[in-house]
Subunit: 236 residues, 2 copies
Amino acid sequence: MADFEKTGRTRVVRKPDRGRYDRATVYAILDEALICHVGIVEDGRPVVIPTAHWRDGDRLYVHGSRASRLLRAMGDGAEVCVTVTLLDGLVLARSGFHHSMNTRSVVIFGKADPVRGRAEKVAALRAFMERLAPGRWDELRPPTDKEIAATEIMALPLVEASAKVRTGGPPGGVPPTTYAGGAPATPGGPVDAEADYAHPVWAGNWPIIQSMGEPVPDARLAPGIALPAYLRHGRG
Amino acid sequence: MADFEKTGRTRVVRKPDRGRYDRATVYAILDEALICHVGIVEDGRPVVIPTAHWRDGDRLYVHGSRASRLLRAMGDGAEVCVTVTLLDGLVLARSGFHHSMNTRSVVIFGKADPVRGRAEKVAALRAFMERLAPGRWDELRPPTDKEIAATEIMALPLVEASAKVRTGGPPGGVPPTTYAGGAPATPGGPVDAEADYAHPVWAGNWPIIQSMGEPVPDARLAPGIALPAYLRHGRG
């Protein structure tokens, strides 16, 4: 797959060594995150709305009620900026100035196309569910025509996008980023001014972990229903 | 403290029972989250940028390099929309249509004011560090004038804001939200169509947990430095 072309909006200008333009990096971040933040302009002013997303091939999907502000704006052809951020850790340096966060983020610009047609919409929703809980779609009460009609699905072509990564990931993952001419002594750790390394304060990477907890069954669960495999093994 | 006044931009129109306008709810969400997504308009088009934030009283603070796109725009008086989202769980219903997510989000509109003056800037940065790691500020190598001058800090008055909550929190926390005329049988659980409760599929709340991991000391940590208390007891 060809890398994303850098544009005036997607080129990482500050700390350019943190910019990533390959689809593998961008898609991995989109696939790991459960929610995105979508920016639109309303009456000349910015509005940022959080929503679930999923990716299928070279498109990013969001969905919602036909009546929602975001879906209506997107359906009217609004230009959007979709930002997805994974927070991996706090970076504790010897000076306040060199503190940082390990994050992996993606920014996408463009206009989305509505998914039309019952079969196309059901296929898109099935892809979303497969991503969260493989096999679950076929266990559910099937969707009604009314439900499908009430659900707006928008597909944003992944054409103008980039990632920005300060890695807090495991060694062997994305290479540690560098800045200020230096490299962290520890993956995900701080890059301090050389004279500060002797300063007697704890420094390092304080990881942030997002995980799926123990599923809580609904009080009205029908009798005899076991916990499905997709819930036993964690997401994805 | 007076509730936030509902405006055309902050009133929760869809699922209005999820809207919260009291400062306690809004501030608790802002204080729990580590990052926000800031929307600005550039050349008439939306741009959404993730950044760390902190709250002090009735103001939300962000900071960064003077050279950054976001800080420059904010310094030039750009209208912003700041959105903060906490994702608490996936809500698994008996139909695809009634699946949901337990989220707590805040949206803020306004224009930010720069924090000027060395003492004021240092006080703001200290408040930020105190929130993340109480006591750490005084252990650090003190900031230089150059560092303080290079750091732009913007304060957004918390005037036009609201929260939207579908609770996945513990019973006794925020009251369970309701929709479609019903209430979840389990806090954080699904609200299904009545006819669907007999459908034989697992349903419930699949919690998402964000936690601080084991701190990873920097490889160049000065000898004899113990793990500080604020890292042993988790954040805040």
